[in-house]
């Protein structure tokens, strides 16, 4: 609501971002890879695409800015929590390894976010451990990172 008062439409963020991306590709492409040198150079195709992206992004920006009827995009805290949860696993992987990070995350999420009963938590933990260790580690022979702690111990 506040955004509307300030006159800034959150929906325009995506076309603005794609305008920036297209400009970066045009500038870097022209500067480093060229466009045409008797035949198409490595920059030829990306530059054409970036120009089309720039034009369509501007059109999209104008279209969204003119459209006063559509609702603002609403983001909620829960969505951020999912992202933070995944980011937490990635960060913890460097410390305690990927498999423990995943299992701890599942426990924390189910216990404190979903308030799941212990029985459900234990079943899901066992299933996930079986999938990760059985399918990925034993069958697919994936060596998951152990993290600093794991490297110190093993």
């Amino acid at each position: 609501m506040e955004n509307k008062k300030k006159g800034f439409n959150l929906r325009t963020v995506i076309p603005l971002a794609t305008i920036i991306v297209s400009l970066v590709f045009i500038v870097v492409g022209l500067k480093n890879y060229g466009f045409w040198n008797a035949q198409p150079t490595p920059g030829f195709f990306p530059i054409i695409i970036a120009v089309v992206l720039l034009a369509s992004s501007i059109a999209c920006f104008v279209q969204i800015a003119r459209d006063k009827n559509s609702d603002e995009v609403k983001y909620n805290r829960n969505e951020l929590m999912v992202m933070l949860g995944a980011a937490g696993i990635i960060l913890c992987t460097f410390l305690i390894g990927l498999v423990p990070s995943c299992l701890i995350y599942i426990f924390l999420w189910l216990k404190f976010v979903e308030r799941a009963p212990w029985k459900v938590i234990i079943i899901i933990e066992i299933i996930m451990a079986a999938i990760i260790l059985g399918v990925f580690t034993a069958w697919l022979q994936i060596r998951f990172p152990m993290g600093l702690l794991g490297d110190l111990i093993f």
């Binding site: 995506i14 035949q39 695409i49 992004s57 992987t93 999420w109 459900v120 998951f144």
Partner: protein, 507 residues
């Protein structure tokens, strides 16, 4: 005749024990993942893609084909029992499937969906058997310019068809192409747009990118469906029990569903062959077509004809989509793009030459689809008594599970945390795009097709020494160019007409 001999040879490949096992495993996993509400065939295939890495290319792609196929079956389960389509092609199935379940015939509704899927799929695979190699032979006559135009048509049509807003479709398609251009130049192999980052030298890895854009983005969205899911489950009769015997169709049921199944099966296959359409369009066209025919009960009130039309069309379209994928290297949908990416990872380049260079693979895959169809039907029938249990996993418990599967899957395909970071970033980007009404499927399709498009376009220009005439110097090219222009201009003209009509109405 030649096709059928090749098909028999294909069965020799498909009937190898490891291929039968992979096909069965794919059918079971695909069915379970497809049945989970909110995941769908695209995310399902992306999430299960890492599991195929253990196999040789033929076995892997047979498993992937079975996964894709059984996902289509699975999507109808939650649509019928919970009124939550597991996948977008199952939206039309829910229109009659759920009311039929509410009328006390959930088992028969599931059986009708399974039988229609099987018959529709068989029609699709038969047509694929007859046409795929012919399409490949036609494709052999295509030069760089023709392929460039065909790839442009494929990209254009998908962006128009998936989104309501053509401009957003173009934006997202172009973004997908630019992401694909990061790494190495397709012709010279020189580094390009790596921005000094050594990880980017190898480009954006395909599987983590797909898992992120589709799987992780889906998890972020799922969190908003928790409450609706809880409410819906609270209203469901949790004591519903299903058995195979209770689910059997009567002769009268079968008589009612057979004509729409055959009609929609044939029509769905042709919809699936068109670049950019896919199973969702197939099921919608099939359902819309059935409305024009007589049904014993009104459509939308639990008519078995509606379930049959929708399911037969979407499975036939799924099979039909393999024709341009194998013969021309053009996927018809986002899921097709995942399959194409899978093929490329194993060093197979789908296109006109594939039928010549790897006939055992092509025919092995086509024959395995017959096998997958039979296996999936059997598994789908056997799983009926356990469906209530599979579907009773609440969305809220699936969130941490799928998040971990995304992370573990992304790591296992790249063997580095770089893959996990790509998955995470592309997941957030995919979620933001989706939230703002930018469909992500065209981006995936563009990501997969871009290297082919660039290679063909540049080679066409090199061959013509920079002249644009190469794109208009034959009747075939003119037709392709006309189709491309029509696809680009139609939505624009429609949009202008809509605005003019709105202005007139206001005046």
């Amino acid at each position: 005749m030649e096709n059928f001999l090749s098909l028999l040879a294909g069965f020799q490949v498909a009937l190898a024990p490891e291929n039968i096992g992979a096909c069965l495993l794919g059918a079971v996993l695909g069915l379970i993942v497809g049945a989970m509400p909110g995941i769908g065939s695209l995310a399902g295939c992306a999430l299960l893609l890492p599991l195929t890495y253990k196999f040789n290319p033929t076995t892997a792609i047979i498993m992937l084909g079975a996964l894709y196929y059984s996902n289509m079956y699975g999507g109808s389960f939650s649509a019928i029992l919970l009124n939550i389509p597991g996948d977008s092609p199952a939206i039309t199935t829910a229109l009659d499937g759920y009311p039929m379940a509410k009328k006390g015939r959930p088992g028969q509704a599931l059986m009708a969906a399974n039988m229609a899927s099987f018959i529709g799929g068989t029609i699709g695979i038969l047509i694929l058997t007859l046409t795929a190699s012919g399409l490949a032979t036609l494709g052999l006559k295509f030069g760089y310019a023709e392929m460039t135009l065909i790839l442009l048509i494929a990209m254009t049509s998908i962006s128009w068809l998936i989104g309501e807003n053509p401009i957003k479709g173009i934006v997202i398609t172009m973004l997908g192409i630019l992401v694909a251009s990061i790494g190495m130049d397709t012709l010279s192999g020189a580094p390009r747009f790596e921005f000094g980052n050594m990880y980017l030298l190898g480009g954006v890895p395909f599987t983590p990118f797909i898992i992120g854009c589709v799987g992780f983005a889906q998890v972020i969205k799922l969190i908003n469906e928790r409450e609706a899911d809880e409410k819906k489950r609270a209203n469901e009769d949790s004591k519903t029990k299903l058995s195979i015997r209770q689910s059997m169709l009567t002769g009268h049921d079968f008589k009612r569903m057979l004509p729409p199944t055959i009609r929609s099966g044939v029509m769905g296959t042709f919809v699936g062959v068109l670049p950019g359409s896919g199973a969702t369009t197939g099921s919608m066209v099939g359902y819309a077509m059935q409305k024009k025919f007589k049904s014993e009960e009104p459509m939308g009130t639990g008519a078995i004809e509606g379930i049959a039309a929708s399911e037969a069309a979407n499975n036939a379209a799924a099979a039909g989509a393999f024709a341009p994928l194998l013969a021309l290297g053009i996927p018809g949908s986002g899921t097709g793009a995942v399959l194409l990416g899978g093929l490329m990872m194993w060093g197979l380049n789908p296109g006109p030459l594939l039928f010549d260079s790897n006939p055992e693979f092509c025919w092995g895959l086509i024959s395995s689809m017959y096998m997958a169809n039979v296996f999936t039907l059997l598994v789908a029938i056997l799983v009926i008594p356990f469906l209530i249990k599979i579907l009773s996993v609440p969305v809220k418990y699936m969130i941490p599970i799928i998040t971990c599967v995304c992370i573990v899957g992304a790591y296992s395909t790249s063997n580095s945390m770089y893959g996990v970071i790509v998955m995470f970033v592309s997941g957030i980007v995919g979620y933001l795009l989706d939230k703002n009404g930018f469909p992500t499927a065209p981006m995936l399709l563009a990501f997969v097709l871009a290297p082919m498009l660039e290679k063909n376009m540049r080679k066409a220009f090199i061959a013509s020494q920079g002249s644009l005439k190469i794109f208009v110097d034959s009747p075939l090219k003119l037709v392709l160019l006309a189709v491309f222009l029509v696809l680009i201009l139609t939505p624009v003209v429609k949009s202008i007409r809509r605005k003019m009509q709105a202005k007139k109405a206001q005046a």
